[in-house]
Symmetry: C2
Subunit: 335 residues, 2 copies
């Protein structure tokens, strides 16, 4: 591989001049610039990015830390981010993590080892935010679906609260009073917020909350199935269920079918996220659409903003609006 020295020698100039050409410095005459460019082409030279990084302290790389889970959700967010930052010549390195310790370890190593200029963190179950705030001091970060604030961060979060409130209210409008809730993974930010929205809708309607109608899942279809089974086994089971995500709602529909309960007549079931399968289940799932790809694009833009130095003017928090998608599983007729 050709280095800047080879180019300099062949073009008969110093390496400084070659460097200036590479970096479009105006302080080089047109004539030499052309000569150097020609040699660069001949030798197929590309500046070694590692050496550049050592000097300039910039890697043009953004680190992403995401949960290790099969998920349309994460995949689309990542796609959105990559699309945006790649246009600005940034690269993206992805780490996935199984648990919080894992996450923090990777995070710190990426940070301290100088591998990335900024990071995108998707750690929906983070608990030790104090430690995080300390290690991320003055480092550009965007948090996705986690409401944390550090000295140079912004949080991009879904409007879980209002989405959940809307879809729960919709069930109430259908006349339901005994509405069950299936929680997502413990400590998960989205799940907690959706639960708050659910409670708020109940409160608005003057329905007193009953823990009898709550069950715990972990966002998987199987857990939704189990949770629904549990709810259905109550003495007076709920007539409607709101699951904290679509996968669990689909599991709940399976559970209803298993017990020969008709959805939506015997029990209405709704979810959250609008994953692609939701259109196709029988009955089609009423849910809340999250514009996942767009979230990724926004996240990408924000991290670029942080990195471009205009630190002061970056938003601290962005809330992504969310849309009710009415299909059949709530009891609405064909539209």
């Amino acid at each position: 591989m050709a280095t800047i020295k080879d180019v300099a020698k062949k073009a008969g100039v110093s390496i400084a001049t070659v460097s200036r050409v590479i970096n479009n410095s105006p302080k080089v005459s047109e004539k030499t610039r052309q000569r150097v460019l020609e040699v660069i082409r001949e030798l197929n030279f590309m500046p070694n990015i590692i050496a550049q990084g050592l000097q300039t302290k910039r890697t043009n790389t953004i680190g992403l830390i995401f949960p290790d889970a099969t998920s349309y959700y994460f995949a689309e967010i990542i796609r959105g981010i990559i699309g945006v930052v790649q246009k600005q010549k940034y690269h993206v390195v992805i780490s996935s993590s199984h648990d919080e310790n894992d996450e923090l370890r990777t995070l710190i190593s990426m940070l301290q080892s100088g591998r990335v200029d900024g990071m995108v963190l998707m750690m929906p179950t983070i608990t030790d935010s104090k430690f995080l705030k300390h290690t991320l001091k003055n480092f550009p970060v965007v948090f996705v679906c986690t409401n944390i604030k550090t000295s140079r961060s912004t949080s991009v979060i879904i409007d879980n609260f209002n989405g959940a409130k809307k879809v729960t209210s919709h069930l109430i409008e259908h006349g339901h009073r005994r509405i069950g809730f299936i929680h997502g993974s413990p400590n998960n930010f989205d799940s907690r917020e959706r639960y708050r929205g659910y409670l708020s809708a109940l409160a608005n309607a003057g329905i007193s909350k009953s823990e009898l109608y709550e069950a715990r899942g972990n966002f998987t279809e199987q857990s939704g199935f189990n949770a629904a089974m549990e709810l259905f086994s109550q003495p007076s089971p709920p007539t409607a269920i709101f699951a904290a995500n679509d996968s669990m709602a689909i599991g709940a529909i399976e559970a209803a079918k298993r017990l020969s309960l008709n959805v939506p007549n015997d029990v209405a079931i709704v979810g959250f996220d609008d994953i692609s399968t939701s259109r196709y289940v029988e009955p089609a799932l009423t849910t809340v659409r999250v514009p996942v790809f767009e979230v990724g694009e926004i996240v990408g833009k924000i991290i670029l903003k942080h990195l471009s130095g205009e630190g002061g003017s970056v938003e601290e928090k962005i809330v992504i609006p969310v849309e009710l998608v009415v299909r059949k599983s709530c009891g609405c007729k064909e539209s």
Copy 2:
């Protein structure tokens, strides 16, 4: 951020010794090792990975180039790769690309700029393999779903041919003779291979191929819908359709419904991939299961093998077996 110099000074040793401690060199006494380790902990020191890379010429990074598409397929492969290589302290940088030029540009820049030690390339529509072979000479690469051979590569490919043959033969066993095929994106390797399998099954059964029963799609649901509409408009339309992937098969089912054709009675429809939605469509889709996550893991292991230097013993080509998944859309009864 603390550097090796700071550590050396504080521990009262030379930077060489610190370096030796970092790299677990045996040539350092237990006593000094402990002292240095303590200082490292105190100062929260981590070696700068960029500087290390400049010296050692290794970045501990693997580059992935993937098509920019929403796809369970790609997402799972990537997840599989990350899971495996992360365990060996490798990082992963992902680029997505819209078209072939795009791909090649990114590829070359990653390569020449010294950013990655090896690459995973998913370029199912690559045409200019000569150029590719030239620029990848002696560089560790694994191709996914592309049958190319360079001096240090291996190709990991799905057994598209046999999968397609099996599912087509299954339709033939159901008594179908007029079987349509919906192609995927033009030049796509998987699509071409699946087409070959389809033809082979027809030939085996003594059915002469008819271009009347072929239509072109691009792997999206919409394109499947359109292609199926085209097939159905023939004077004597096919009684069965094999779409080159599940998304298009699902589109085809929609098309059948639009024309009030019963699936599978009026027309049987099958796909390929077994995406998660396929279980849920009505009727549930008969298809070919591709163990996508496992493909990712295999790819990860192979690239690690290439990088670990045991170059000679790495397979040139790995074919992933594939499994027929019989559901209802082919005409089979409830199992």
